[in-house]
Subunit: 108 residues, 2 copies
DNA sequence: ATAGTATATAAGCATATGATTATATTGTAT
DNA sequence: ATACAATATAATCATATGCTTATATACTAT
């Protein structure tokens, strides 16, 4: 059962439009929290909490650089998640779907 | 956005341990409701409601035969769901994980 | 028509979830 | 040390979710 329960938990994480959008954005490059805030219509704490969930399930990596925290995909070892994302739009297309441009180099 | 939202909705359906188990059981053959009740630890209405959700999103087909309603997978046109299920256990292995035997030919 | 079996729908409830605002923490720069 | 920017955590809240029990519907058989 553990195998199915573990997969269900991770799929539930993908089953939220905000998180799935974040994962799509992460397909082609890493993003810091403030960039995600700029592009998605959610508060900064909202983003932080989504990232914490994704991180706690090992779906993203976290890298602090200065005052910024960058997140990147970590799905090499999760083939079913990887294959789902292969069918999803990448960074550029996702930005288009959001009617947003690449965020400026640094926030604020 | 529709593409991502639609995928998120469907992935949310997979992100429940009961429903994901049902889909695993459906990998190799169709099942009727009473068989699922026999094998999962959930009430008959509980199963019915899960099946309704899966059906309403086109993930399963429904076929009434006599007083039984049989459900089968319908994921040919949903490649990302298909690929997720490819990484999941099939009917026999799932039954093992549940510590259950194939249900008797007909219920009750 | 009646009884019995299989399934669906309705109603209710406890818990989970995604969001927000307020506040704390961490790091940078002066 | 102070001020500011980026991020995290805490508290709160409204809604969604998964389950149950009770009841309705559909089909079969006598």
């Amino acid at each position: 059962m553990d195998q199915i329960m573990d997969a269900a938990e991770k799929l539930k994480l993908l089953g939220d439009k905000t998180r799935l959008t974040i994962l799509c954005l992460l397909k082609d490059r890493e993003w810091c929290v403030c960039e995600l805030v700029e592009v998605l219509s959610i508060s900064q704490p909202g983003i932080s909490q989504h990232m914490r969930k994704l991180k706690s399930h090992g779906i993203v990596n976290e890298a602090r650089r200065g005052q910024w925290v960058y997140y990147s995909l970590r799905v090499q070892d999760k083939p079913y998640i990887q294959s789902v994302l292969e069918y999803m739009p990448g960074t550029t297309d996702t930005l288009s779907l959001l009617n947003k441009k690449e965020p400026g180099q640094i926030c604020k």
